[in-house]
Symmetry: C4
Subunit: 370 residues, 4 copies
């Protein structure tokens, strides 16, 4: 395990503050810890925040229809993802700059995810080199999956090199984000005047001048780029940001290993539907031909039950991890993952299901069988 | 009638405080009387409280479609339950630890229910021995039904003995709670730091060490346990916490005497639908083959009218009884039951119905006949 | 015109206070003028006020689908009711005790309605003898209809005598209220401790001791009583409080001259649907065989347009008249009627309709033709 | 370019105040700059404001269903309107009295629209002569369309003369407003006591005495007047305020060049549906036979995407332009148009569409193809 950097003020916490018993509590506490501009960057959404709120509300609006009196002894949360056994269907979503939340940054996240049996998708915009993060996570064995996220597509040589580095470091898949050819209209962030702190390194990105709209559009990935990546990547490829069933079908036909139903946490195109709303049609279009993950607003163990009943194989959790980091570094992120995992186990029991596979049942959320 | 214990401060009230004219008033007053942690324990719900609020909102959302100019002279609320005539279709729901609300605890509740013609389902987690409570209730004659609730299923010998005690003491049925194999994620209660006061006895439960999830799951009742109970109980058996029509059919086929459509007052699995929403499909699956009761959010006489129109034979009322107890002991609980009964009579008249049987009419709530 | 009683403090106003430009303004001002208990009596609803609010919300929720470029010159609001031409389809609803709002009581209301071309339904619980009120209204000619409301049915001789008095005094119809066999659960009023002031006379009611539920139910009118009234009344009979299409059919078959779709302003059975919601099915059941009026929440000229498009021949306006009375006596009630009439004319023009008969068009509220 | 009048206090701003990053920010700032009565006049709605709010809410409620990974290089917002190429599908809506917002009035608006490639529909109630405004706009070339709005129809000779002046000055079409035969019940404005400042000229209107309802109705335009205008106008004619598909069909059959789906910004008949709700049926009735524009609540680039997907060719933007004017004169109006244009480009990219024509796709807003 790598040695962490010297502790800063916020890093002194070695345990989460007392009284945090839900992810909402972590969020409220993190808001009090972080400066307003960083908070706006981490928690803000695009436009007027409709999609940001809809993500959360849509999980709440899915009703659970449990069964009773089923045998529950030996209940467990294990599952399989891209052919690999995992302790749970929970992964940390790819996010930029964990260092904004805590000086240990992505290393702390890796430790937390690894310890709690969650998967981890390291973002291209990580402040720590992917090799260091992989060492902290120590992939394999009883751990969840370790994947690397790719962004943009300006430079195929650079991308090929980055994928090779990830593969060499032990990453098990790459995940290309496809829903953000340009940045969203992020009003909260702009109003708060957020700017990345100058000292924060971005070891996987070439130094870039600010790009205009035309440059960004020219550099945005296309289906041709996906085909190229599938042809050249030594690792399985997932696409993140697929919400239309027709795009899901195209992705499956090109041979992707999985896709993430995501609206970028409501940070890109406001008034897109919630991911819980979009998931069933995408899962139905995929029809089991690749893995389906979902993110956006997952905050409760019951949300994970619902995601699986609606067709997902696993969920990605984003902002809550940064909240945990802000509150107590690796211990805070681990606490977030533990709360979520405990809630998930309890929800399985209260739904009368002993295995993750038993959750793949539309009737559990009051829908007819497909 | 048993002699009650020496009065404590809150027991000094011999009549409900002036100005309480609805169950909502009792609730608001009880909140001012009880300490916040006890309040959170009594009134809190699981998770974010969606099901807790939905229970209440769903009754409000059922529209009444009354008829006018029908003869109303001689209107009465009598009905029949498990073959026995009862003064009204109102029962007190099984709840733990009435002593938290008032030192007279379950004895006060028994007196109130008995005097007002309501039924009473004593909880396993009663602070008073079931025999004392039965004496206070004095079942039979013009009184409502007296039933005993069972919980968990770790020890069949213990359960058999408990059922025998209840039968010997005059209880007329047992009701097994089936919807809580593990405790819900009760955030309000955890945030408020509730812990049962050390002095409160639990005479029907063996002393237990804190149990982990695996222990709880191994001990959770199954359909096999229900079959065993039906085979060994000298009393009719009802199941509480049936919400799925398929579970209702299984229960009827095993021979239960009745079932309660309940989501545990929103205290167990958040985002389950409201019981008013779940009731019609369960009643339709049962098709008159056993009794159907419902609980969750019943606070108005019109709610009882709606419950019967949607297929219930009777309703259980929970938290409002504890509010009444907290406000004025037995007199407070009796006042709650009187307010509810008076509203129920008035609602029958305003709907143009002179008999409880006339309320079994889907058209009264704007639904087509089944 | 009768001489009004000596002015009291509130009677000094001879014009409405400045700045009141809508019925909502009158309501807000009246609230500041009346004591809280009287306010609760006048404005309160039954139970939790769902029906009270729904009445208002339902008019707002009906969308208008206007036509443009139709000729509008010569637009007018005249219509016909029970075969008589009226200046407008607006009537004052029967209400008890106008004297609570202003010492001139029903005399002031009669003056206002008469002057503005509105109809007036005097309540049985008027504080002024019906003969005096009729003189103040001076029925006939260019005035709206003058009707008398009947309540309860304990004494057929008394009722026959009352109808004969009304007929002799110039009333043109009687309206029997059928939706209140018992009083609603009026929590607001009970909480505010309202009691009718002792000095207020009730010249049309025999002095009565407080009656219990059984007495009230025995005295409640039935279909037999309606048949008796139709056989013995020299005046046309309307029923007020019909909301079920089957009751409407029964009423039509018995030969009533009209009926009022009413939930008693939300004062009787809470959670009944809004009258705007109930109106179309009743109008469809009546199919033009008698007059159909509606009350409950009419506060805007557009509401009147909607009521007619949904099947009504006219609307009754209740509480706003008492608000106007409270604010400035007869001048206040007249101001309320003028505001409503002006809004109605403007709404007709903006909907592209020159005649009241042109408003009888379901397409105007986005519904298919029947 | 015409020389602007001497600057007043508010005209000193030559750039929008810092921190305004959305049209909502401009609105909030304008509210702090304008006096309350002017604010009520500019921003108020009819009645209770249901339609005013619905206009905004309806755009928010239309969900976007984007596609990903399409090529986006060379994205552009050009389109065609009445056969003329325009830089964007954004026009400034006809509004009275821009001088209330800024002393430069319509000249400032013309400069802003011209500079940003937006179209401009000058209102009849402009404070500046149409010829001066046309010079400021300098129509033709790379500019958007310049049209002139007509109101009322009392005097055909006057109208013919006005249209001839507009044509001579370079206006490319006239737009007749047809949805306001009388003024709406504008409560906000009446409560705030708004009166047009005496010094404000109205160079296109004859001096008029206050007119009563009957006069207004006699003067309201009819279909005959539209036919006359089509026969006598040298310019193409559009109708503004068409919301009913049957009126749209009549307009098309008479030969109009285009129509605007508009409820007059919620200022005329309250409880009309939102224009986003009305647009699809009108567009479907028109079936491409004339141009379809829409206004009401357009505040975000995504709203423009939605309008086109729902069947519009272009959008009109009203109040935000006055907000920009109030905040910084021509620079403020230009800033509003720039923010909206930038959001529109970003929204196109995030929806995966490179051309305005690609937005004409019902699937983009989750609707089936017509």
């Amino acid at each position: 395990m790598p040695r962490l950097e010297p502790a800063t003020a916020s890093a002194r916490h070695t345990a989460p503050p007392p009284g945090l018993i839900s992810l909402a509590d972590h969020e409220a506490h993190a808001r009090s810890v972080l400066d307003p501009a960083t908070w706006a960057y981490i928690n803000g959404g695009a436009g007027d925040g409709f999609t940001l709120r809809a993500n959360r509300d849509a999980w709440d609006a899915v009703a659970l229809h449990p069964r009773v009196l089923a045998p529950l002894a030996g209940l467990e949360t294990r599952t399989t993802l891209l052919g690999k056994a995992c302790p749970s269907p929970i992964l940390v979503a790819p996010m930029a700059r964990h260092g904004l939340a805590h000086p240990d940054g992505e290393l702390a996240t890796a430790l937390a995810a690894s310890a709690l049996g969650a998967g981890f998708v390291l973002g291209t915009q990580s402040g720590r080199p992917l090799e260091e993060v992989a060492k902290a996570f120590a992939p394999g064995g009883e751990r969840g999956p370790l994947w690397f996220q790719l962004y943009g597509f300006g430079d195929r040589d650079g991308m090929r090199e980055l994928v090779a580095r990830a593969s060499a470091a032990g990453y098990e898949a790459v995940m290309l984000t496809v829903d953000a050819p340009v940045q969203g209209v992020r009003d909260d962030e702009r109003r708060a005047g957020f700017a990345p702190p100058p000292g924060l390194p971005m070891p996987h990105l070439p130094p870039q001048a600010a790009a205009g709209l035309a440059d960004l559009l020219a550099r945005a990935p296309t289906w041709d780029d996906v085909a190229w990546l599938l042809a050249h990547s030594p690792l399985p490829v997932l696409l993140k940001g697929i919400t239309h069933p027709d795009d899901a079908r195209l992705a499956v036909e090109l041979g992707v290993a999985g896709l993430v139903v995501s609206n970028h946490g409501g940070r890109v195109l406001d008034t897109m539907p919630a991911t819980a709303t979009l998931l069933p049609a995408v899962a139905s279009a995929v029809a089991g031909r690749c893995a389906v993950l979902v993110d956006g607003g997952v905050r409760r163990g019951t949300d994970i039950v619902k995601a699986i009943a609606l067709g997902a194989d696993a969920v990605l959790v984003g902002r809550p991890i940064l909240h945990g980091l802000a509150n107590a570094g690796a211990a805070g992120a681990a606490h977030v993952l533990r709360l979520l995992g405990d809630e998930f186990s309890a929800a399985m029991a209260l739904c009368g299901r002993r295995r993750v596979a038993d959750l793949r049942d539309p009737a559990l959320v009051g829908r007819p069988a497909p």
